[in-house]
Amino acid sequence: MARRHHDMGGLPAGPVDQTEHALSDWEILADAVNQALGEKKIKRTDEMRRAREDMDSELYRSLSYYERWIASMETILTEKKILTREEIDRKVAAFEKKWGEP
């Protein structure tokens, strides 16, 4: 079985960047929504991992940490038919209108 994109232990890699960034509001929110869904037993840590592991490899490497979380949360919530992609798209479109973006 080929090694998948999340399974990177022991692969060659460069120095560890020790720079830390203060979390943005949307990152704090992603963290909190994820934890709240866990508390309600709507999703489990290993389900979220599976969703991240099933992502496109290029996408996995290109997204930031909390972007990966949001993508996997959306996968789990749509798989469980709690939300649909279309609902999320419509809500985002409404935000963009309100926030002044085409």
Partner: protein, 214 residues
């Protein structure tokens, strides 16, 4: 940190000095606001559930772990309990570690140092140390911690003699680790509060030893 509950669309705003105009948010950042609103509208979770998680995470910090380590250094019976039954011993100190399934405390010695990683993602003893630092979640740390721990530790400023063994522990969703660092020399007679100041977050992940006393 508190949120303005009156405006759901801005409920995660923290009032800190890094405002992000909403129209400049990235694709996924916009989607989490949408997901949040939809989950609340459908009654899946409430605004209070989210706020409680933010408050909980803000209340976790490496200071919790430092308190445990300092007590363990000062009190051998406490140290033994902390290693034998970490969750119950955390509760003694008012630290709720029940959300961790298996919690393991790894004692460093002169001959053995422990290093914690999550190669597959970012599992971390959050109830004890708070959210993991960026570098712990980085692809380079996840890749190298297991086969070049000595090199990684050197980057953090820790140079270990060859005869010191390094044991690397790979975390999972169900298994979280805390390193109990070696008590620094020259700390005899220091109070627990003084000792706790020497215990850094990174020393409890295992990439470095604790600070030396001034």
């Amino acid at each position: 940190m508190s949120m303005d509950r009156s405006d759901v669309h801005h409920a995660a705003d923290t009032g800190e000095d890094h405002p992000h105009p909403k129209h400049e948010l990235g694709y996924y950042a916009k989607r989490i606001y949408a997901i949040r609103d939809l989950l609340i509208e459908k009654g899946v979770i409430t605004q209070d559930d989210i706020q409680r998680q933010i408050d909980y995470q803000e209340a976790r910090s490496p200071a919790n772990g430092a308190q445990l380590v300092a007590r363990a250094w000062a009190d051998p019976a406490f140290k033994k309990r902390l290693i034998d039954d970490p969750k119950a011993t955390c509760a003694e100190m008012g630290i709720d570690a029940t959300s961790i399934n298996e919690f393991v405390v790894l004692e460093n010695t002169e001959r053995v140092r422990h290093l914690v990683v999550c190669t597959l993602c970012s599992c971390y003893p959050r109830p004890i140390l708070g959210r993991p630092p960026d570098w712990y979640k980085s692809l380079n740390y996840r890749s190298r911690a297991v086969n070049d721990p000595r090199g990684v530790m050197r980057e953090f400023g820790q140079e270990l003699p060859d005869e010191v063994e390094i044991r690397v522990h790979d975390s999972t969703a169900d298994m979280r680790y805390l390193v109990l660092p070696l008590r620094p020399r020259g700390t005899e007679g220091m109070s627990e509060a003084e000792l706790a100041k020497l215990v850094t977050r990174d020393s409890m992940i295992g990439v470095v030893d604790p600070l030396a006393p001034q």
